[in-house]
């Protein structure tokens, strides 16, 4: 049996008195595309941010590709990892944000090569060549020397995807990648993501795009109020939801 790409067990997280994650169990196989649905405030972003340790979990555990994230367990004792080791773990996990978060003072190509050159020590020339290939893949090769502010939202988000891919991540996390976009720009970003899914990249995608879930996801997970309410094949969860909470949510977004 191969190890799962992500294994979350009983993940708990609170902010002050607010319990945001109340024991999340989730497994993602290698190459699997999981779409996470759920109402606003249900903890979807928080869960994604725990997977690459942008938030420190309070209980349970998250393994990515067999490696415990953010902590080290040995001889029955668990300790927090040092910042340097956490930074190293994050290099294997790409993340795409709702607000793109491109570096505005760098050109598109500089955005893409910053991490490979700066932290992996890849030679600049080689990194630029790969960056151009990645930009071609997201359909933006001709924008390599533009600054992010000169691009539309959809173009910026595609650059953000190329920037994350430049680190050759094993796993990609997408947090509502199309929610900040004008409706006519959503399609171009989803098309790029679909291409990645077809290439076998392991992805966890938080989105309200039910059409994307139906077409691309291997599995749909419905979260509400800090727990996974149900999980299964897109057709099952979207067309024959078992839980009334899922039913109520879907009737609102469809």
């Amino acid at each position: 049996m191969t190890i799962p790409m992500v294994r979350a067990r009983g993940v708990r997280k609170h902010f002050g008195h607010l319990e945001v994650l109340k024991g999340i169990d989730l497994e993602v196989r290698q190459g699997e595309v999981v779409v996470v649905l759920g109402p606003s405030g249900s903890g979807k972003s928080t869960f994604l941010r725990c997977v690459n340790h942008l938030e420190t979990i309070d209980g349970g555990s998250i393994h990515v590709d067999g490696e415990l994230i953010g902590f080290e367990a040995s001889g029955g004792r668990v300790r927090h990892l040092r910042r340097r080791e956490i930074t190293r773990q994050r290099r294997e996990i790409g993340m795409v944000f709702q607000q793109f978060n491109l570096f505005p003072h760098f050109t598109v190509v500089q955005n893409v090569i910053e991490a490979p050159v700066g932290v992996r020590g890849e030679p600049r020339g080689q990194a630029r060549e790969r960056a151009h290939a990645l930009l071609r893949r997201v359909g933006l090769e001709e924008k390599a020397d533009a600054y992010p502010r000169q691009l539309s939202g959809g173009q910026q988000q595609r650059v953000a995807i190329a920037r994350a891919l430049a680190m050759r991540p094993k796993l990609m996390l997408f947090d509502e990648p199309t929610s900040a976009l004008d409706p006519e720009l959503v399609g171009e970003v989803l098309a790029v993501m679909k291409g990645l899914a077809e290439d076998g990249l392991t992805m966890i995608v938080v989105t309200h795009e039910v059409g994307f879930a139906r077409e691309v996801a291997d599995r749909v997970v419905f979260m509400d109020d800090g727990v996974v309410v149900e999980s299964g094949a897109p057709a099952d969860v979207l067309d024959r939801p078992a839980s009334p909470r899922t039913k109520a949510f879907l009737s609102r977004v469809l």
Partner: protein
């Protein structure tokens, strides 16, 4: 009902009679100022002309510039450290840096200068060692604290407090999403600060820092109270002998203006450098900066 057929091409311009009145008033005032400068013999322009490029004045300018550069350098380095300290997660560092800023901003720099100069009354000897334990090095304060060192300490430590606030403001104005994106890419803290946060903060740090440099240039004239021969002290020591007070003060003003003008030009170049990617349009040209034209407002991308 039909609307009239109108073409606005070739419409008459709006008249601004008040602008004309204001311009005429200003021109009259300017003419009076010029006539005062030319006709009043008390300005003694010949004396100004004789001293304006005298060698001794040059030495004073050198001291003023040297002091400005060193005190500003001390201020910037200290300011970065204090700003990082005030934004750190360590409560002790936060409190200590806050206390520093509170003290140095809350007391007059002139008092601080005189205090450093007279440090020997407080500590006749300065020594380094373990508190209440053995001393490693010790020195006589009067020998150690020269007027120049007192001036650097007084101006530099004070400047650090102001720069800390400017830099902290600049760092806080950078969107938190930038640090998150860098973290998610596995870029370490130091590199994120240097490559991502600081360059973006610079856009907010440079303009007030330019004002600080100009303030510092003028604040260095305070060191004349501790007998350091800067530009002001030099002209004072001349007019104390010759009683040509006004023309010598004009000489000092001319040089302060020349230097601040050069600084102003330099600042505009640095600002343009850090404006990369800040707007959709090309950075503002140097000429429109000089002619005080407003920056085009950045468009908000969709």
């Amino acid at each position: 009902m039909s609307l009239p057929d109108v073409d606005v091409a070739g419409a008459a311009r709006t008249r601004h009679p008040l602008r004309w009145v204001a311009s005429i008033v200003l021109l009259v005032l300017a003419a009076q100022l010029v006539s005062l400068l030319v006709t009043n013999p008390n300005f003694q322009w010949d004396v100004v002309g004789r001293y304006v490029n005298a060698q001794i004045i040059g030495q004073g300018i050198f001291t003023t510039l040297l002091l400005t550069v060193i005190a500003m350098a001390v201020g910037v380095v200290l300011g970065v450290l204090l700003a990082v300290g005030r934004l750190s997660e360590n409560p002790v560092a936060r409190a200590a840096c806050g206390l520093y800023v509170w003290f140095f901003r809350g007391t007059p720099v002139l008092v601080q200068l005189v205090l450093w100069y007279n440090l020997s009354y407080l500590l006749p000897e300065i020594s380094f060692g373990i508190p209440f334990g053995p001393e490693f090095v010790s020195a006589d304060t009067n020998v150690l604290i020269t007027p120049l060192l007192a001036a650097i300490l007084g101006l530099g430590l004070n400047e650090g407090a102001y720069m800390a606030e400017i830099i902290r403001g600049g760092l806080m104005s950078v969107d938190h999403g930038q640090t998150e994106a860098a973290s998610a890419l596995g870029i370490g803290g130091a590199r994120t600060f240097r490559r991502i946060v600081l360059p973006q903060a610079m856009r907010f740090i440079i303009p007030p820092t330019g004002s600080q440099v100009i303030s510092m240039l003028k604040a260095t004239s305070l060191v004349s109270v501790i007998a350091l021969a800067d530009l002001l002290y030099t002209v004072q020591s001349i007019y104390n002998r010759t009683f040509q007070t006004i023309p010598l003060l004009i000489v000092a003003c001319v040089w302060y203006l020349v230097i601040t003008s050069i600084l102003y030009v330099g600042q505009s170049f640095i600002e343009r450098h850090y404006a990369r990617g800040a707007t959709r349009n090309a950075p503002q040209s140097f000429w429109s900066f000089l002619t005080f034209r407003r920056r085009p407002t950045p468009e908000v991308p969709s």
